[in-house]
Symmetry: C7
Subunit: 84 residues, 7 copies
């Protein structure tokens, strides 16, 4: 097993600032946008988000959007799954 450099969850988020990210909520709603902020409770702010439901685009938003941490299941820097 090639050695892996360990990284803290909040560091992953920090390194994603200014980049694309996919956020999956606990109720399966999915948002793809640019990550512009976060805090210790994993509340996050994304910009110009596109909302997907079962991989189909359903809504576009302009500007910022705050997603509350206690409702987030997953955060994926870069965002899109490679294959299905």
């Amino acid at each position: 097993m090639a050695s892996v450099s360990e990284i803290l969850p909040l560091e992953v988020i920090d390194k994603t600032i200014g980049q694309e990210v996919t956020i999956l909520l606990k109720d399966y709603r999915e948002f793809f946008g640019t990550l512009v902020g976060f805090d210790d409770y994993v509340n996050v702010v994304i910009e110009n988000a596109v909302e997907y439901l079962e991989d189909k685009e359903i809504k576009r938003f302009q500007g910022k959007m705050l997603l509350t941490g206690n409702n987030i299941a997953m955060l994926i820097p870069g965002g899109k799954p490679v294959s299905e």
Copy 2:
């Protein structure tokens, strides 16, 4: 990737005071009104709210309304999605 100025979630809310905002609850209820206050638990106060369900207006309220933080999924300054 153009550089992005990082912003904390509570800063986003603070900068939205006095402006229109859409608040989505965890049970999909949606409220559009003027943001007049908030606290560290993301409890928020909006004014003259309009309630939407699946993008259809269903109720108008006059005056202030407090929405409890542990039931909020999303907060969108400016509010309305650009397109669907």
Copy 3:
């Protein structure tokens, strides 16, 4: 946008003491009565409450009623929606 005086959520509740208020629980039950007390956890005490379900009156209560904060979704000073 006319300037708006910012107000903390607990201040909204405090200013509503002695006045009518509508409390909506997370399970959509709705109570309309006089607000007589609250605490930092948004536990609230109302008096002579009327219970509504989908805007139809279903029960009247005499005296005080405590509603626990972690089950409250919304608090609306003055109470009744303007129009539907």
Copy 4:
């Protein structure tokens, strides 16, 4: 609006010690009995409780019963609704 003496939620509970009370749980189960104790988490102890479901008596208990705070939706001193 006649002036109203403000009262803290825990004070309401404290003043109900030794008196009848109705406790409604988040899953709509309803217990009517004598309040004999409580703590800061709104865990409560009632005595000789009668359990109701949709206003029909379904069970009687002798002695004490502890109801955990994080499952309580409402506490109504005196208890029974005035009218339906």
Copy 5:
């Protein structure tokens, strides 16, 4: 109303050590056994438990069983309802 000696919830549990108790979980499962321990989070330990579902015995356990506090709805010293 005969005067009632007030008792804290954790005191009720403490006084039940070594005695029979019924524990009802939030999902309606019911366990009847001897209470042998508890902590401040209302995690409890019972011994030789019998599991009931809708008042029918479905399982017997030998030895100790830990029930986690955040899943407990009710704790009834002595246990069995008097009448239905």
Copy 6:
């Protein structure tokens, strides 16, 4: 009632280290294995777990498995119910 030596919930877990245990999750999944560790949040580590659903074996695991505390309903040292 024979006198019972009181025991704290975490003590029960501690005394079960190295022994067989059944862990029931809040969603009724059941795991039977050797308890090898735990912490104050009742996160637990078991080894060589067998997963049961309604008392039928459905999966075997080799090595360690961490079960998160806020999803655990019951922990039964020794494990198997005596009778059904």
Copy 7:
């Protein structure tokens, strides 16, 4: 019973850094990948994850993925069940 060396839950995670792991969420979604980070809240970071639903592969991801702790039910170093 052969003696078992006790291990804390967070130690199990720590010893799995750089190795394969299966993470099961509370809603039964399952992710298999390389563990690259975690924190005290059992938020975890995995790399090149494969998503399974009822043991069938449904999605592959490249790069890192953060899974929030309050939504995780189980963490299994090494990952795959031995037999079904």
